[in-house]
Amino acid sequence: MSVIGQSAPSDVADKSAPEQVVTPVIRRSGIDRTFRSVATSSGVITFVLMGLIGGFLLLKGYDALKVAGWGFLTDSEWAPDQGGKFGIAAILPFTVQIALVALVIAVPVALCTALFITEYAPRKLRRLLTAMIDLLAAVPSLIYGLWGLFYLQPRLITLSKWMANHLSWVPFFHVDDQYGTSLGIFPSSTFVAGVIVSLMVIPICTAVMREVFSQAPPGEREGAMALGGTRWGVVRDVVLPFGRGGIIGGSMLGLGRALGETIAVTLIISPAFTAKWSILDQGSNSIAALIALKFSESSTFGISALMAAGLALFIITLLVNAAASTVVSKSRSGSSTEI
């Protein structure tokens, strides 16, 4: 049987004329062609815009990068206009620290908020909370910065002090202070800036995660419920696996925002140019805040140096997002994310 089955097609093929592969001809209507070209050019604009921004930063920053060379990556002070050295060796770690503090706080809070809204909240509360979260996402960062500076910071430093006293075995919370741990050294720190940035990141992360969780397939939810699943069981086995892409996407969107946050960080921090592990004591920095602070007082060369710093931020943001989309695309098909 199998012998006949195998030989039969080749017999047929031998007898017939050589096959000609058909190239399907597609005739597009006028309206299809028009829309196609509009859509295509819109897509191309994205690439052009990315290229233009990156190219512009590179071009403007080139003078400074030529002078600094590799020192741009290894020097921590910032004195381009004084003819001194300048580099991102301190600013970049500070930027990342602030963003990480923000994410460590924002992601769990956003995750739980999104789960509460989609899985546990009663219908009316769900609608109200969704509207509130969207509203919070729309509050300008300057408002967060001012509120954080005048209201939150004086209260937050008590927590900073407690952490410095009790958790000092963690390198991040270790504070070297020759005056003893007085409250005075805790304001304007990486920690305070990170907490305030986290407040801005939470609504964005929550909005993305909520959207994805709410699209978890009802069939799978019901399947899990019908097996005697608890609410938590459904969340763990249906909603979270489905929403994995959204969790990562939302976090990365938040990280992007945290890395680039300018005005709130500028208001909070007192600029420091020596990298350090400790996040609790005074002095921090960020690329965006540096540019905002120095921009108006810089010479042409100083601005070129700031552009180079901006380029570094641009590249890091791109890398973060590229990494995120790789992870997301490896997660299950059908789940969605707005990255």
Binding site: R123, P217, G219, E220, E222, G223, A224, M225, A226, L227, G228, G229, T230, G233, V234, D237, V238, P241, F242, R332, G334
Partner: protein, 283 residues
């Protein structure tokens, strides 16, 4: 759990592998007393009284929109998951009300399993994990050998073991539609339900898969009470012991027109509407 009267069921029908986790497992009877359902203010079901005897297959038949599926979903408290859905009357499992708190809702759903119209295996899980999903969902702890035994016995019961025994690590979604549906049946069997509700389980399947599932139904009905919604009259005749014919007049809630042994419903119905429906004159 709660004190449940199980004297009415026949212990000789117990199957050792199905009852792996619950040695006292037996088919349970379901009783619906004067059940009515609403979605918002629209009443979709009224005055439904039905006895679903232990170890028997009861088929719910009737044209679309007559409330069969709604009724089925009241039997394991899936109805209440629809926002604005309400219910009156009572549903008893072996004489115990399932709605008034005597049994926790998760236990109700574990004892009264459900297979849906569209196969819904968990896509993030493998074939084996899908079978065990119910245990994980309800937090039951098992040993590795128990799990292996359960996977094999449930997949065998669902008529799927031979096809997937070498693909247990594949994702559930990689199976064909008919296999996915049988996987869902296996998944339901793994938590040793006393009743299995099936909502048009074969409507999306080819004839071969349909036949396999019908075989499975007649095999499991020895130890599990089955309630099946079907639009396929031949299927109802093939698999069920008893039939309930639902009908809804225009803008009126659905009711049971006639209920009785399947043979009587199909060959000697009392109501002319039943006769018209089972002979394909409407619906």
């Amino acid at each position: 759990m709660t004190s449940i009267d199980i004297t009415s069921t026949d212990t000789t029908r117990m199957s050792s592998d199905i009852s792996l986790l619950d040695p006292g497992h037996q088919a349970a009877g379901l009783t619906a007393n004067n059940v009515a359902c609403w979605f918002g203010t629209k009443k979709v079901l009224e005055g439904v009284n039905l006895d679903m005897a232990p170890g028997q297959v009861t088929a719910l038949i009737g044209p679309s929109g007559c409330g069969k599926s709604t009724f089925l979903r009241t039997l394991n408290r899936m109805h209440e998951l629809v926002p604005s859905a309400t219910l009156a009357g009572e549903i008893l499992i072996d004489g115990v009300d399932i709605y008034r708190g005597a049994i926790p809702v998760t236990d109700v759903r574990r004892r009264i399993g459900m297979v849906f119209q569209k196969p819904n295996p968990f896509p993030a899980m493998t074939v084996a994990e899908n079978v065990l999903a119910g245990l994980k969902l309800s937090g039951l702890k098992t040993t590795r050998s128990e799990r292996d035994e359960l996977i094999e016995s449930c997949l065998s019961k669902a008529g799927l073991w031979n096809e997937v025994k070498n693909r247990l690590g594949d994702p559930g979604r990689a199976l064909s539609g008919g296999q996915q549906q049988r996987l869902c049946i296996a998944r339901s069997l793994a938590v040793s339900p006393q009743v299995l509700l099936m909502d048009e389980p074969c409507s999306a399947l080819d004839p071969t898969s349909t036949r396999r599932i019908e075989q499975t139904i007649s095999e499991i009905s020895e130890t599990i009470t089955v309630v099946i919604v079907t639009h396929n009259m031949q299927q109802a005749q093939r698999v069920s012991h008893r039939c309930a014919f639902f009908l809804a007049a225009e803008n009126e809630p659905g009711r049971i027109v006639e209920e009785g042994p399947t043979k009587d419903i199909f060959t000697n119905p009392r109501d002319s509407r039943t006769n018209d429906y089972v002979n394909g004159r409407f619906g």
